[in-house]
């Protein structure tokens, strides 16, 4: 091997680790580049979405099931943290774990009966859950504050260090996002993850190879619900205000759009999808009027022409081009 080949091989071998390191460095330096609180607030929102979308992507891409109600878990996390910290005075960190645990139980209760069925019943069950939750949030106003929302949620703090401005929140939220990213990247490469990948390819074949497909699906569902709940708790502590409309079924659809655009089953795609859809309103002035066209149009176009999503789809296109050119060179 020549030196150049050695370097290339090293880069190829450690591509995931290197990308993660690069991304972490970029995120670490980002507040030094821009100190505009508005921009930081926007990237913080991306971080929150990344956590939800990573979980949802594992579920859609690897368990091959649809959840159209992830905003319900997101909302349960947010309202759970809000109620636990304000009404019961529980420590925010403890509340976050407690709520995540409860949400995991909810996901188990829904997942165990519904995921044993073939077909896409879970899509409707989660959609129903989301609708029920949204109605409860609106109607049960003595606990949830009703349509006007829930105020006065405390900021997260480590000792006396409070996370209250965009600059500090940036490190907190992106810390969580990067941890979730690492978790997902490692999970996909573990034995469990290989089983999941088999499940995504062909359920019958996976079962024949000894993957407990039903359990695997339920586990991923619970994991994705827990991630959504954690993101919800963070949401509540970030804005110290929550209202029902942040967690309605259209928010769930937006999450699904983020997953599909990045690519179902593509971990890196989740980052891209979350970032793209969160940033879209910033790039278009007339966005409010044409929001549905843009969201729906992107979803339909991606599904029609690049069903694997932007990241995997474009990578594949480039790879095919390169292979074709190499073939031509060899022939010449």
């Amino acid at each position: 091997m020549t030196a150049k080949q050695k370097i290339l091989y090293f880069l190829y071998l450690h591509r995931t680790g290197l990308t993660v390191t690069l991304l972490s460095t970029a995120i670490f330096c980002w507040p030094l580049v821009t100190s505009n609180p508005y921009t930081l607030g926007l990237t913080n929102l991306i971080a929150l979405h990344v956590v939800v979308v990573l979980g949802l992507n594992l579920f859609i891409g690897y368990a091959g099931q649809i959840s159209l109600g992830h905003a319900a878990f997101y909302g349960l996390g947010a309202y759970g943290s809000a109620i636990a910290t304000v009404n019961f005075g529980i420590n925010p960190w403890l509340a976050m774990l407690l709520v995540a645990f409860l949400v995991a139980l909810v996901a188990l209760v829904i997942g165990i009966p519904v995921l044993r069925l073939a077909g896409h019943y879970l899509a409707m069950a989660t959609l129903g859950l989301n609708f029920v939750l949204h109605t409860i949030l609106l109607q049960w106003d003595e606990v949830t504050g009703g349509p006007s929302g829930f105020y006065g949620i405390p900021y997260l703090a480590i000792g006396d260090f409070e996370f209250y401005d965009e600059f500090r929140l940036h490190y907190l939220l992106w810390g969580f996002a990067l941890l979730s990213l690492l978790l997902c990247l490692n999970l996909v490469r573990s034995g469990v993850g290989r089983g999941l990948a088999a499940l995504a390819g062909d359920e019958t074949a996976a079962a024949a190879l000894g993957v407990n497909t039903r359990n695997a699906k339920i586990k991923v569902f619970v994991l994705s619900a827990v991630l959504a709940s954690l993101a919800g708790s963070l949401f509540a502590h970030t804005y110290s205000f929550v209202s029902p409309d942040s967690f309605n079924i259209f928010v769930s659809t937006d999450m699904v759009i983020m997953v599909v655009i990045g690519g179902m089953g593509s971990i890196w795609g989740s980052l891209l999808g979350a970032a793209l859809i969160t940033m879209l309103p910033e790039w278009m002035d007339l966005f409010e009027t044409y929001k549905d066209f843009v969201h729906g149009g992107i979803l339909v176009l991606v599904l029609m022409f690049l069903p694997q999503g932007l990241v995997t789809g474009l990578f594949d296109l480039v790879r095919t081009r390169l292979a074709l050119r190499r073939g031509q060179d060899a022939a010449a």
Binding site: I110, P113, Y121, L127, F131, D292, G297, V300
Partner: protein, 288 residues
């Protein structure tokens, strides 16, 4: 009012709502049987029905009956367009991709509806006068009777189509075994197109009939559509008698619970039922 009259009143309103859910549920089942997917666009067919009726009556100035026919035919046409332009060109026939496509198309359609008819709530007049009729002591709106009558007619037409026409036979063949149907040369495209036309006209009819009772705005179909789906699951997804039974059952449950328990959570009943059915008897009342 004595308790019996109350009960009768709730039953009538339940049957009316149930008939609407049944129409929507049938639309879901038709598409599911030919393509094996949940068609989320069904939700917008309902809204479109009401909107087209509104335009036919007030923009064109048609009388009620031609207006109704035009609205239903219009939704059927749009549904066929959705299938031909929005779903057929997909490069993948993976179920996830197709279902997400219907989600995307539904978002686009809702955007178009918002753009054409605006976001304001509108009122659609009932088919005939709105003086209540007294029936066994319960007062019933004539619109409710129209809903029941037209639902029965629609179901009769559907039965005739599926059991007396060659295309209906082809569709039943595809529903029972798509591969075998393809082997004997049944044109898959035409069957899919027809199933969308039927789903569209059923959804459109539901929209025309229900919007005089509710109000008309761009997302009126979302909630109705989801309840229609819950009804389809309750009856057994894919079964036509199940869809009708599930729709009526759900409508009755909803109006009785609103009448005797609380009306604040009326809209939740459908989804609680949906979740319970999935837990206890996922194949539904009449599912195979």
């Amino acid at each position: 009012m004595n308790p019996f009259q109350d009960f009768l009143q709730f039953t009538f309103s339940g049957l009316t709502g149930g008939a609407i859910y049944a129409l929507i549920a049938l639309g879901f089942c038709v598409v599911n049987n030919t393509m094996g997917i949940v068609n989320f666009v069904q939700v917008d067919f309902v809204t479109l029905g009401g909107m087209l009726m509104f335009s036919a009556l007030f923009a064109i100035g048609l009388p009620t009956v031609p207006g109704l026919l035009l609205a239903v035919a219009g939704v059927a046409l749009i549904a066929m367009l959705v299938e031909r332009v929005g779903l057929r060109p997909a490069r993948s026939n993976h179920h996830l991709v197709l279902i997400f496509l219907t989600v995307g198309l539904s978002i686009i359609l809702r955007g178009i509806i918002k753009l054409v008819w605006g976001k304001n709530r509108m009122a659609l007049p009932p088919l005939t006068s709105d003086t209540p009729v007294n029936l066994l002591g319960a007062s019933v709106l004539p619109q409710a009777l129209w809903i029941l009558l037209l639902t029965v007619i629609a179901i009769a037409l559907l039965t005739w189509f599926f059991y007396r026409t060659p295309l209906g036979l082809a569709m039943r063949a595809v529903a029972s075994n798509p591969t075998a149907a393809a082997v004997v040369g049944i044109p898959a495209g035409r069957v899919r197109l027809t199933s969308y036309a039927i789903a569209g006209s059923l959804g459109g009819l539901a929209g025309v009939l229900v919007t005089p009772i509710t109000t008309l705005n761009y997302d009126v179909g979302v909630l109705l559509g989801l309840k229609g789906f819950a009804a389809a699951i309750l009856g057994g997804f894919g079964s036509f008698p199940g869809a009708i039974l599930g729709g009526l059952g759900l409508g009755l449950l909803e109006s009785l619970s609103a009448g005797y328990l609380s009306s604040a959570y009326k809209d939740v009943v459908a989804f609680v039922v949906l979740l319970l059915v999935l837990f206890i008897r996922p194949k539904g009342l009449l599912g195979k």
